[in-house]
């Protein structure tokens, strides 16, 4: 878990600082230097692509975009999911039944295809990607928060608070919310890799971010086109993508185990 956090922070720092100190520009085309292989001693650490652009800077840019989309999308799903789940769980009864029936209905839909449909219908834009990915992932969050709220609401300390006269807003802020934070943090951590997957999938299909902007998925797509002659174009962004996903998954797993252990379940 600690290793995952360390790696993620390192990647993040390089992605933020790297392009800024590098002499190369992510969009600068240079036909005199196309498809140069990576060399740590040379000008282009990760080599160049088919348009002669520096892959190091482009990869770091791709990481930035991928992480940005994933984090923003996760926050969108966090806000929607937590609000929806907490309301359903705390109000309970018929409202809960109807709200959860709706979630179940949406659950059965292949959302990713709807996102593609959206991308086709509307011009592709960044904002839409955030919203669409957020809209996919809030369902899990809503279910989990609802379940947790429901069981917290039944816990006797909530009754005890009612009996000493604590009003509903304070019951929620003092007795329910603090007990939700742990599980929410766990699931946000697990939502981020999900969002990364969706974003890079869309970019891979050419439905995500547009040139000269890029993301890890778009870089992999480009890499596939040149993999027979210039395998680094595929392998470098692909392994970084896998590394980032793995770190988030490890982190999420670790946090979940920690959380479960503390709750004795």
């Amino acid at each position: 878990m600690k290793k995952s956090v360390a790696i993620l922070i390192l990647i993040l720092v390089i992605a933020i600082v790297g392009p800024w100190i590098s002499p190369h520009d992510y969009a600068a085309v240079d036909f005199s230097r196309i498809l140069q292989s990576p060399s740590l001693g040379g000008m282009h650490w990760f080599g160049t692509d088919a348009l002669g652009r520096d892959l190091f800077v482009r990869t770091l840019l791709g990481i930035r975009v991928t992480l940005l989309v994933a984090v923003v999308a996760s926050l969108v799903s966090l806000v929607i999911g937590v609000t929806y789940g907490a309301v359903a769980g705390y109000v309970g009864g018929r409202v809960d039944a109807i709200m959860m029936r709706f979630v179940d209905t949406l659950y059965a839909l292949p959302f990713i295809f709807f996102v593609i449909l959206l991308m086709v219908a509307f011009e592709r834009n960044f904002f839409l990607i955030f919203v669409a990915i957020g809209a996919i992932n809030w369902l899990d969050m809503a279910r989990i928060v609802r379940g947790q709220t429901l069981s917290l609401r039944e816990r006797e300390f909530v009754d005890a608070a009612k009996l000493i006269g604590v009003r509903t807003p304070q019951i929620i802020s003092r007795h329910i919310a603090p007990n939700l934070i742990g599980i929410v943090v766990v699931y946000v951590t697990l939502t981020i890799p999900q969002a990364i997957l969706v974003e890079s999938f869309l970019s891979f299909l050419g439905l995500g971010v547009q040139e000269p902007q890029t993301s890890l998925g778009a870089l992999v797509d480009e890499g596939v086109n040149h993999m027979e002659g210039a395998s680094w174009l595929l392998l470098i962004p692909a392994s970084l993508l896998a590394l980032i996903l793995m770190c988030f998954n490890f982190l999420g797993d670790g946090l979940r185990d920690h959380f479960d252990a503390r709750n004795g379940s």
Partner: protein, 307 residues
């Protein structure tokens, strides 16, 4: 049980309706039409086309027309493949996608459940760690990374298996796509099985079975497998959605002329009716599958049936 099944069946209908209406509105609420992306058409031509595809009618009427067509299996004409209807395109692409998808799901279930059970039995041993390490890698590396890398290694560099589809001999060409498509599902199912098997094996009724002198093998077969499979069963809906998503990538990378490829082409060409038709088709497939899963759940868990 009959009551339960009927209730589930009834429950699937609103979901299907929602799918259709949602998808239809998404497409038709979009600005611009299918034909104004490339170059401006003369107004009379545009009008002709609009009439031909009935885009001049009010939206609710179009929706009703579309839905009544749907009931007869008619998803309308494709905008790009002018001579084909969407239904024909689906009919030509789906069988191949289904073959590969079903093979991948079967493989994923067998290997995933087996590996997960093994890891659960050998919890915290080397075997467990190896299986779980593979599973973690499997869920972390997306299909669109695994597919090209495998092609690069196994086909291009080592020449063990064919890289492409057309022209390759029968059996061999299935191997890479099916394995690639199955890998992330194997990983998910193994993780799920391990977690739920460990949970089930810690139950009091398993201790009872041990106290009754049943051996580990008999306990897993008689007492543990059924309840441990419930989370895996619940995962079947999302799994099929994931396989469908994956098939889009696989067909793209391996050049397989399946439904996924039509879908991507349709999406890139903004072929509204085709994309809409395929989304509705996929969604229906998943809703039906979830229905089957729900019913099976009732078969396995006697307590669910009574609700």
């Amino acid at each position: 049980m009959l009551r339960y099944t009927l209730l589930r069946l009834l429950g699937a209908i609103p979901t299907l309706l929602l799918v259709i209406v949602l998808a239809f509105l998404m497409v038709h609420a979009a600005p611009g039409g299918p034909f104004d992306s490339e170059r401006a058409l003369p107004p009379e031509v545009a009008e002709d086309i609009e009439k031909h595809y009935r885009l001049d009618e009010p939206l609710p009427q179009q929706l009703l027309r579309y839905m009544s067509g749907l009931l007869q299996g008619d998803l309308g004409p494709s905008y790009r493949y002018r001579d084909y209807t969407v239904s024909e395109l689906i009919a030509s692409g789906f069988p191949l996608s289904l073959q590969i998808g079903a093979l991948a799901m079967g493989l994923a279930l067998i290997v995933g459940v087996g590996a997960g059970t093994l890891a659960a039995q050998r919890k915290n041993t080397l075997v467990d760690r190896i299986v779980m390490g593979f599973a973690m890698t499997g869920i972390s590396i997306p299909v669109f990374v695994v597919a090209p890398v495998l092609v690069l290694l196994v086909a291009v560099k080592l020449h063990w298996l064919p890289a492409g589809w057309s022209g390759s001999p029968g059996f061999a060409k299935y191997v890479l796509p099916v394995i690639t498509l199955a890998l992330p599902q194997i990983a998910y199912i193994a993780r799920l099985t391990r977690a739920s098997m460990i949970d089930v094996l810690s139950r009091d009724y398993i201790r009872t079975a041990y106290a009754q002198g049943l051996g580990t093998k008999a306990i897993i077969r008689v007492h543990a497998l059924k309840p441990a499979m419930l989370p895996v069963l619940s995962y079947m809906g999302p799994a099929v959605a994931a396989v469908l998503t994956g098939s889009v990538v696989i067909e793209e990378v391996f050049g397989i002329p399946g439904l996924g490829q039509f879908f991507v082409r349709g999406a890139l060409n903004r072929d509204y009716t085709l994309v809409l038709g395929i989304v509705i088709f996929y969604a229906t497939l998943i809703v039906l599958l979830n229905l089957i899963v729900d019913i099976l759940y009732g078969v396995i868990d006697p307590r669910v049936r009574q609700r």
